[in-house]
């Protein structure tokens, strides 16, 4: 209706055209509306089902911890890759000026255990030392004492014992 042929006050109830919907929905929106809302409700339903299926809530807690675990794993992988590269290039064993590092020297001297087998060997040596049926030769004990202590120290020990 045009403004020009309005002589009396316009009444909105007299014009059925005004009651028609002037808005449009984007193409395909209404067709997919039902499916979208149902899939949205499906997410809600999934969460509700989880509560029922896991009474102890273990999986729910796992779900909460999952990002933290993922982060920890990522750090682990990055650290592992970095360590691997350093090992492969030998950077770990060398100091910046190209000499063997203090760590490498200590490893070489056997003061730092780097391999699993070293720990096993140490345990084996320890067990051998305390074997019950270990026999000591008297001569061996005397020669060992002679290498470890001076005659003065041995005399002092003998005196203290008395």
């Amino acid at each position: 209706m045009s403004k020009s042929y309005m002589n009396e006050q316009y009444n909105i109830t007299d014009d059925p055209h005004l009651k028609s919907n002037p808005f449009k929905a984007p193409e395909g929106y209404l067709e997919s509306l039902e499916e979208r809302i149902l899939s949205l409700a499906g997410i809600v339903q999934g969460e509700a089902a989880e509560e029922v299926v896991t009474p102890s809530g273990v999986w729910r807690r796992f779900g909460i911890l999952k990002p933290a675990l993922l982060l920890a794993c990522t750090f682990g992988v990055i650290f592992g890759m970095g360590y691997g590269v350093l090992r492969l290039t030998g950077t770990l064993d060398k100091s910046p000026n190209g000499e063997d590092s203090y760590y490498a020297k200590m490893v070489e001297k056997g003061l730092i255990k780097t391999k699993f087998i070293d720990w096993i060997e140490e345990d084996l040596e320890y067990d051998d030392f305390y074997e019950e049926d270990q026999d000591f030769d008297e001569e061996e004990v005397v020669s060992w004492l002679a290498t470890q202590y001076s005659s003065m120290e041995l005399a002092q020990l003998y005196y203290d014992e008395k």
Partner: protein, 180 residues
């Protein structure tokens, strides 16, 4: 499917099927209801999604004290009113006039397909306070009975009639100023 059959389905333990029928029957109607309260399509879509999430969560608490469709309209209307209040609050802080914003939005909205008179009517509706706007839209466009609007809004029929009368006069006045 009738509303009572949908409720029957829900009561027999078929909640998902009942919800599917509710969505099938009411999603489009509720979309247009929300869209006429909140002209922007994206906002209307967000409000509609929120509405159906609330419907799904509140379905176990649905008592048959009210009709299913008035219950659905109540949730949709409340969601829209909350959204409108929030927008008004935001506009207050940014020192903008939300009514003017809405009017200029409708004018430039490519999804508005009305003529000049319909545009003026929408601009007039945009100036109404949120609750009056809801009453006007439900009565004028959807021709919902006062008794049902009373259930939806939780306002007495007498108060509703007065509210609609005020809104109607404001719209008429706006159109008169526009030259109609």
């Amino acid at each position: 499917m009738e509303d009572k059959d949908i409720i029957g389905l829900y009561k027999s333990g078929q909640a998902e099927r009942a919800f599917t029928f509710i969505v099938r029957k009411y999603s489009e109607r509720l979309y247009w209801h929300i869209r006429q309260l909140e002209a922007d399509h994206d906002d209307a879509d967000d409000i509609l999604q929120e509405t159906f999430i609330k419907v799904w969560n509140a379905l176990p608490a649905f008592r048959e004290d009210s009709k299913l469709y008035t219950w659905l309209y109540r949730i949709a209307t409340n969601e829209s009113l909350t959204f409108l209040k929030r927008r008004k609050l935001r506009a207050t802080f940014t020192l903008r006039d939300p009514d003017m914003d809405m009017a200029s939005f409708i004018e430039s909205d490519p999804l508005f397909d009305g003529d000049e008179l319909q545009l003026s009517l929408q601009k007039a509706i945009a100036t109404l306070p949120p609750k009056q706007k809801s009453v006007f839209v439900m009565r004028y466009f959807h021709e919902i009975k006062y008794e049902d609007i009373s259930e939806i809004m939780g306002i007495s029929v007498g108060a509703l009639k007065a509210s609609y009368h005020h809104a109607f006069n404001k719209v008429q006045e706006y159109l008169k100023k526009e030259g109609y």
